[in-house]
Symmetry: C2
Subunit: 144 residues, 2 copies
């Protein structure tokens, strides 16, 4: 079963209708390799109206098919959520996003809960940096 089919089944299971517009948006979303903006989806699904793209993105977010990615400049992007809870490591140079499977904050949450008497419901953690290939253009040039 393709990823597309799997998402479609998810929609069906929740009594959402399967329409050409939705399929187009979902296909465009699944075709993305890294993070992407709503605008990029609109570019790749030109036949679909703006409003519908936004509505579908919200639907996909609610269904945990995609997750939001906050970029350092404050703009909101999305990315396919192929796992459960995880964090992102975003390259500020090339925009590549790497998933961090382990949630190393779990311990922290426990300590924090004890120390602050807060009941911690969630957290948002993203790292920004420069990936190996962007770190040293010289190193890349040297390889060639």
């Amino acid at each position: 079963m393709s990823e597309l089919e799997s998402v479609i089944r998810k929609l069906e299971a929740l009594d959402h209708r399967i329409t050409p517009s939705r399929v187009a948006v979902i296909a465009a979303v699944l075709a993305q390799s890294g993070h992407f903006s709503v605008e990029e989806i609109m570019r790749q699904a030109r036949a679909v109206g703006r409003a519908t793209v936004f509505r579908t993105m919200r639907l996909l977010t609610d269904l945990d098919v995609v997750c939001r990615v906050l970029l350092e400049d404050g703009s909101l992007h999305y990315r396919v959520s192929r796992r459960g809870h995880h964090h992102h490591l975003v390259c500020v140079s090339c925009g590549n996003v790497q998933d961090l499977d382990e949630c190393a904050v779990a311990d922290l949450v426990r300590e924090l809960a004890a120390a602050t008497e807060y009941e911690i419901e969630g957290h948002w953690l993203e790292f920004y940096g420069r990936c190996a290939s962007c770190r040293s253009p010289l190193a890349q040039a040297a390889k060639a």
Copy 2:
């Protein structure tokens, strides 16, 4: 030296002019106890134009006088940055924000850098939960 003076000195030191509008915005900002939106500053500095409030907020952000706080609903707020690097614990119920002085992510950053070959430049970490007083209205009632 009051906090207001101290911020003003900071502006002067960087060759920014001290104007009534800026002072009004800065005073309003410093008067905030928790996090706040630009709108709240505009309400408290009615004489100052929208654009100027936004321009001043950007200035204060660049000067590290305030820092941005991302709320869970995606809206952007600010809060006075009375320390250096730290994180926030936001109560989703009453909106209270608590600073977390220790940056417990520092170790994580180091491990991550080694594991991924990224050069980590920064990170964004915020926790969401319910504070002690919001956790249990019953417990509060019982106290009375």
